[in-house]
């Protein structure tokens, strides 16, 4: 079975991730997921491709810690985080978060917590490649 936290170039399958998540417990009544995808527009500009760069070792250890933090904070039965580092085009998958709990509320809340925290804590940068040139993305302050 694949690791619960991964940085990888290749795409992932949600069915596979959910199946892996479920193996950890037969008491999992609610699974919430968040999937981040590449859009073809950003702030009004047309985006052809998006490329990602990571401080790999730190990004992976931050993601692992984030998973443990979420499991503890929301009493999850399990959680998974996968981020692709590669160049993607519109519609492609970028990031996948899954949270499994006995009931739906903690699963949904943990899913939101993990994607919000990932954006704050994990050293990954996005470059938008547009017909007018490339630009690293500055997140909103």
């Amino acid at each position: 079975m694949k690791d619960a936290v991964r940085i990888q170039e290749e795409d992932f399958s949600q069915d596979e991730e959910i199946t892996a998540l479920k193996t950890s417990s037969q008491r999992m009544g609610g699974i919430a997921t968040f999937l981040g995808c590449a859009r073809d527009f950003s702030e009004g500009r047309e985006v052809s491709r998006i490329s990602f760069e990571a401080y790999g070792s730190m990004a992976l250890s931050e993601m692992k810690q984030l998973r443990l933090d979420a499991i503890e904070k929301f009493k999850l039965l399990d959680a998974r985080i996968v981020h692709r580092i590669c160049t993607v085009t519109a519609g492609d998958n970028i990031v996948f978060i899954a949270a499994g709990a006995e009931h739906r509320a903690p699963a949904l809340e943990a899913c939101r917590y993990m994607i919000d925290e990932l954006k704050e804590r994990v050293p990954i940068w996005k470059k938008e490649i547009t017909p007018e040139g490339d630009a690293w993305v500055s997140p909103h302050p």
């Binding site: 990602f52 401080y55 730190m58 994607i115 050293p123 990954i124 500055s138």
Partner: protein, 79 residues
């Protein structure tokens, strides 16, 4: 030696992804930052985060240890 790493938008402004800086006793993260910011002022306009050996550091007064890996980073935009 201190191993300094840069990534993404910062590399674009420093022109290099890795530097070796001579370690000096008493060196803090702030001293290293100021030295690099003088050399790469445009890069440090967008630097807002730092990590030492892969750990977020908010207090720049911490002393550095020889052979540390130090990163000065722009705001993250993953996810």
């Amino acid at each position: 030696m201190i191993n300094v790493l840069f990534f993404g938008p910062v590399v674009e402004r420093t022109g290099s992804a890795a530097l070796k800086i001579e370690f000096m006793p008493g060196m803090t993260l702030q001293i290293l930052r100021d030295e690099l910011a003088e050399k790469y002022p445009r890069a440090f306009e967008i630097v807002s985060l730092a990590a030492v050996n892969g750990q977020h550091v908010r207090d720049f007064s911490i002393p550095l240890i020889d052979n540390s890996e130090v990163t000065f980073m722009a705001k993250f935009s993953g996810g």
